[in-house]
């Protein structure tokens, strides 16, 4: 291309070419089924802990499971990106995960009663909204909205201990979204 001889037609072609390449790379890097399946399962497993244990048991569970899950997700993305030969910075996702972990511990300490049992679920919904924005993903945005509705509905209900129910519904929603995302990724290849 000669700069001084660039025609509007050439400019359109170039911009389209750049959008195609950007979109191709973005699509390749966009893969979120693994963390969804993993954290869906971990959330489901937290339900019995919430059912039989006190708030401290749930906090200990998430301190261990959340940290181990985060490490597993980091390992997964590292190996995936090494295999693909293209990678993006994990800093925004790690920062969101750490902020979620802090919020999930801080918010119950600042609340009491039924709200204390489910307040972390609002933080989870907020974290998924950030993930949706980072990934420009409508699927994650819808999941985030659904995850915010779950604790809200539980609080509006007459459930005495909404914690375990919220954990089961939240876990299922995340897990099912992860399975659907996995299938969509497989079909997209």
């Amino acid at each position: 291309m000669n700069p001084s001889a660039t025609s509007p037609r050439e400019a359109i072609d170039t911009l389209r070419h750049l959008e195609d390449l950007s979109g191709q790379t973005r699509a390749l890097l966009r893969s979120f089924w693994f963390p969804l399946v993993l954290f869906g399962v971990l959330t489901l497993l937290s339900a019995p802990v919430a059912l039989v244990g006190e708030g401290v048991a749930v906090a200990v569970y998430w301190a261990v499971a959340g940290t181990a899950g985060g490490a597993a997700v980091g390992w997964y993305y590292h190996h995936r990106e090494e295999r693909l030969g293209v990678s993006r910075s994990g800093v925004p996702c790690i920062a969101t995960g750490v902020a979620l972990l802090v919020a999930a511990f801080a918010l119950p300490a600042m609340t009491s009663g039924r709200l204390q049992e489910v307040v972390s679920a609002f933080a989870v919904a907020g974290a998924y909204l950030i993930f949706a924005w980072l990934d420009r993903s409508a699927v994650l945005a819808v999941l985030s909205a659904a995850l915010a509705v779950v604790p809200a509905v539980a609080l509006a209900s007459s459930l005495e201990h909404p914690g375990p129910v919220v954990a089961v519904v939240t876990g299922l929603a995340i897990l099912v979204t992860g399975i659907v995302a996995r299938r969509a990724e497989q079909q997209g290849r």
């Binding site: 291309m1 700069p3 001084s4 660039t6 509007p8 400019a11 359109i12 170039t14 911009l15 070419h17 750049l18 390449l21 950007s22 191709q24 790379t25 973005r26 890097l29 090494e82 693909l84 030969g85 293209v86 990678s87 993006r88 910075s89």
Partner: protein, 103 residues
């Protein structure tokens, strides 16, 4: 209306205003880094051709190239610098402005 002295064509960067080099920066604009093989396949280039364009971009300070051995295999990773990303953004803006002037 753009004045003659401020015409978008005059702001196009000779280093970046080249289809392959723009493509390299477009890929790196969405990724933190990309491997030589990925760029070669995505842009449908030969090794020599890609090396030549990467050399031009590296000399201009638009990309950084890191060579490493991973699992005993040599791998070359390419990363867009801040000025490389800025050059891509400026090029895209100039092209869009050029189109707007023709509407």
């Amino acid at each position: 209306m753009t004045s003659v002295g401020d015409h978008p064509l005059q702001r196009l960067d000779d280093v970046v205003h080249q289809r392959v080099r723009l493509g390299i920066l477009a890929v790196l604009g969405k990724a933190d880094r990309a491997e030589f093989t990925y760029l070669r396949k995505t842009l449908d280039l030969t090794d020599g051709n890609l090396s030549r364009h990467l050399g031009v971009l590296e000399q201009a300070g638009y990309v950084e190239i890191h060579k490493a051995f991973e699992d005993r295999k040599p791998r070359t990773w390419v990363h867009a610098t801040r000025s490389g990303r800025a050059a891509l953004a400026a090029e895209v803006a100039a092209l869009r402005e050029l189109l707007a002037d023709h509407v």
